[in-house]
Amino acid sequence: MKFSYYPGCTLKNKAKDLDRYARACAAALGIELIEPDDWQCCGGVYPLGKDEIAPKLAAVRVLADAAEQGNQLVTVCSACHHVLKRVNDDMKNDADTRERANRYMDLQRPYTGQTGVLHLLEVLRDRVGFDTLKEKVVNPLTGKKIGAYYGCLLLRPGDVMTLDDPENPRVMEDLIRALGAEPVVYPYRNECCGGYVSLGDKELTGRMCDRILESAVGFGAQMLLTACPLCMYNLRAHSDLPVYYFTELLAEALGVKEAAQ
């Protein structure tokens, strides 16, 4: 299995764990991740304005590069995944964006959204398979009660992201089960943590995180799992509960965590 791999800026810095454990797990599962040269920041948020083209171009570059390599594109950061998938959807389905982006980009071949964008969770579920993954687990996380925290970017809007049921997802729960732990399902796992508002209004993000954490703890979670550095930041700021990147626990279960450090 070979994919182009887009780490994103945060994974090169504050969220190094998310990245290095992802690479270690991929190697352990026989997945080859190829990082393109000279990628740029995806912009962090998907530009909602129909007339915005420049903020989408960094994403288009990475997508077009993967297309040139003939690869599908994998990411692990929720935000990057969100931006790449939505920009790709525009390139495929919105003629105006497609035309204008191609005019700016001056690519060898026009890019029309042909690259498949996958979150690593989708690769684990649909390509590796959780049953196969389960067989590769050497340190099962037996006895741990883990709440998956999806947040907003991974799932919504459901018709574009198509990762899972946006209101009642299960991919991370299935992952937790495959790792030998017990998933804790709680209803606020797909509600927003407050995102970038925490820059100016920590009180508000605090209230939002409290509601999520209260729900998770109430249903018995001993720790939380996330795929997003921003969620991680907000949750950690307001919680005594340990919060991990899903790749870290995956690495632990696959027995590659220490080597990755």
Binding site: D165, G218, F219
Partner: protein
């Protein structure tokens, strides 16, 4: 040469305000063959028709053109008028200068020009009209009603009472349908079973009614007055004649874990079962998928305990073939699946239920014996929330774009019944609009608010979140206060959208009856022919045609029966003479026409043909005139031009086009 009369109608100001009627008369009078042209304010009035009749007689007209409204409206009127005056009715043509002209144009000059052109085209066509004679076909004086809910039962009873035999086909083991599942009915709050059971009994006992339960329609052929229908009677594994309905088999059956469909899977049932106590017939069926005997070969307990010797494991499905003059579709509805509405937590909490599930919970014969309780822990709720429009009025692709029509009223009913029986329970209803058109309906809803203290909040709910203590946090909007509200509830009831029963789609294609994008059967005319399908001989009853409540369903069932009776009362039917026919000298038997014919009216025969002096056998298309509806699909498909339509021949159509382009 025809002697043609042209009659131009003002239709009050409907036509005359946009079309200069006098100029149309003048222009028409100059057309070749036109010997009479005149206008009149209302040509369809008695006086207008008298003008036409006297012109036909006085001037010896051989054909007439009426420039007026759509032929759907008054073609029949003017044909009858012509016939009374001694003219063949098929020598009448309508130029539609209202729907096709005055109503859709604003500019008088342009509209007048167009009206003149339309008149000219109709005149050109009449030149080539030939008198046609309608044929006749027989009527089988028996009706088939598909679906044994209240719609089907009422339709069948009304037809039977008029003296005609009726068969009801019901796919479930008992008739009764959705109404049998309801506890109370609005707006009078009488018990559903108390008013339905007598009707079920009456239907079962009626000498003119036969009931096929556990049966489905498998195949339909034929046409209005003469349908042949194959009915599959699923193997019941119980002899209907021997069974006494004692119920011992169900009591002893060791397989008891099958979800009970009648109780919306809130409880379980045995593998041999009757769906409910008042079932008709009161004869159980063996659900072979879950029966231990059928799965493993061991068991046979029901056979051992049956004193009547009615259990018969060797039964197999049986196909009954029967002839009918008319077919009524009364296939009803189900609630939509809620898997795309995860925000309401239906799949995440047992205490989030649909309204139909609440009906079963409130019912004395239901899974909780009629006691209001939470399905998770059996405790009585103190705080209940109802959410309306779940999946209704939803155009984002997750639900249904239409209003399900019955939810506002049954929610008011539920709220009122709960407040009446359990005054300590707080009831809140989140609504977008309360829609209560119907006799005593708004009064009913207001009673819920004013007398029973039900708390109505205008605004939709955004999320239902189960809490660790088992309660449910309902986050909604209060649009009157302009803010978000939260209620911690013990139970949440979802007014779930309804959709046509899935069997309707397959049935519609068997009947060549048209169906809309929501799978509701389409009526022949939304206002003037609401209980007839556009396919002759097929009638619509109940929710299969569109959402409706019980009073409306029963009225429609009666209307539907009246239409069926009207058909069956005829000894023979006049057939439409405007049917297709194939020219055997041109037809090469390629099957293109049969492939496009929606009515199955075309078959093939080997015929001896004299082709330029050479005698030989050829495969020739033959049209069954009783089946052909004159749609013309075959005539445009035929590659050799062998197919032609009487009254709309290729020559006539070309003449019209020529006249328009002149």
């Amino acid at each position: 040469m025809q002697k043609i009369g042209v009659f131009v109608c003002h239709c009050g100001t409907n036509i005359a305000a946009t079309v200069d009627v006098l100029r149309v008369v003048e222009a028409a009078a100059k057309e070749p063959g036109v010997v009479h042209a005149q206008d009149y304010p209302y040509m369809c009035s008695e006086a207008g028709q008298a003008l036409i009749a006297s012109a036909i007689r006085d001037k010896g007209l051989t054909g007439i053109v009426v420039c007026s409204c759509s032929p759907r409206m008054h073609e029949a009127t003017f044909r009858k008028c012509a016939e009374r005056a001694g003219l063949n009715p098929y020598m009448v043509e309508i130029a539609n200068i209202r729907e096709h002209c005055s109503w859709i144009h604003k500019d008088m000059e342009e509209a007048t020009q167009k009206a003149i052109i339309l008149a000219r085209a109709a005149i050109a066509k009449v030149h080539l009209n030939t008198p046609l004679a309608a044929g006749h076909s027989q009527v089988t004086k028996r009706a088939l009603v598909i679906g044994g809910g209240i719609a089907g039962i009422q339709t069948a009873l009304d037809i039977a009472e008029a003296g005609y035999p009726v068969d009801i086909v019901e796919k479930n083991p008992s008739i009764g349908g959705r109404m049998a599942q309801l506890d109370k009915t609005f707006p009078t709050l009488d018990c559903s079973a108390c008013i339905l059971t007598p009707k079920m009994v009456e239907a079962a006992a009626h000498p003119n009614i036969r009931i096929f339960t556990y049966s489905e329609v498998e195949r339909v052929t034929g046409f209005v007055g003469d349908f042949t229908v194959d009915i599959r009677k699923h193997a019941r594994s119980v002899d209907m004649d021997k069974c006494t309905g004692c119920g011992l088999c169900q009591e002893k059956c060791p397989s008891r874990k099958t979800p009970d469909e009648f109780n919306r899977a809130l409880g379980t049932r045995s593998a041999i079962y009757t769906p409910f106590a008042q079932a008709i017939p009161n004869v159980p069926v063996i659900d072979r998928e879950h029966c231990i005997k059928f799965k493993t070969g061991k068991c046979g307990l029901c056979q051992t305990v049956c004193a009547a010797g009615a259990i018969d494991y060797t039964q197999s499905d049986e196909i009954v073939s029967e002839k009918y003059g008319a077919i009524v579709v009364a296939t009803g509805f189900d609630t939509i699946k809620l898997d795309r509405f995860g925000e309401y937590a239906y799949d995440q909490s047992k205490d989030v239920i649909t309204s139909l599930e609440l009906e079963r919970i409130m019912n004395a014969a239901g899974p909780t014996g009629g006691h209001l309780e939470r399905l998770s822990d059996g405790r009585m709720p103190r705080e209940m929330v109802f959410i309306q429009c779940v999946g209704s009025r939803c155009s984002d692709g997750r639900g249904k774009s239409y209003c399900s029509k019955i939810c506002c009223m049954y929610t008011a009913k539920h709220a009122m019944l709960i407040r009446d029986k359990y005054p300590d329970v707080n009831v809140t209803v989140f609504y977008i609009d309360v829609r209560t058109p119907g006799k005593n309906f708004d009064e009913f809803y207001r009673r819920a608010v004013e007398q029973y203290g039900v708390n109505y909040i205008k605004g939709q709910v955004g999320k239902v979140a189960p809490l660790p203590d088992g309660r449910l946090r309902v986050s909604g909007s209060d649009l009157i206060d302009g803010k978000a509200v939260e209620i911690t509830a013990d139970m949440v009831v979802l007014a779930t959208a309804i959709e046509p029963d899935p069997s309707a789609r397959r049935l519609a294609s068997m009947l060549t009856a048209s169906i809309d994008t929501n799978d509701f059967l389409t009526e022949a005319h939304p206002k003037l022919r609401p209980v007839e399908s556009p396919t002759a001989g097929v009638y619509l009853s109940g929710v299969s045609q569109g959402p409706k409540d019980i009073p409306e369903t029963v009225s429609q069932a009666g209307a539907c029966a009246a239409k069926v009776i009207g058909l069956l009362a005829k000894d023979r039917l006049t057939t439409n003479p405007c049917t297709a026919h194939s020219d055997q000298l041109l037809c090469n038997g390629c099957s293109a026409c049969a492939n496009v014919c929606p009515y199955g009216a075309i078959s093939y025969e080997q015929r001896e043909v004299n082709d330029h002096g050479v005698r030989g056998e050829r495969r020739i298309a033959v049209v069954n005139n009783a089946l052909c509806q004159g749609c013309g699909a075959c005539t445009v498909t035929c590659p050799s031009g062998a197919m032609d339509l009487q009254g709309f021949s290729n020559r006539q159509l070309i003449a019209e086009v020529d006249a328009i382009c002149r």
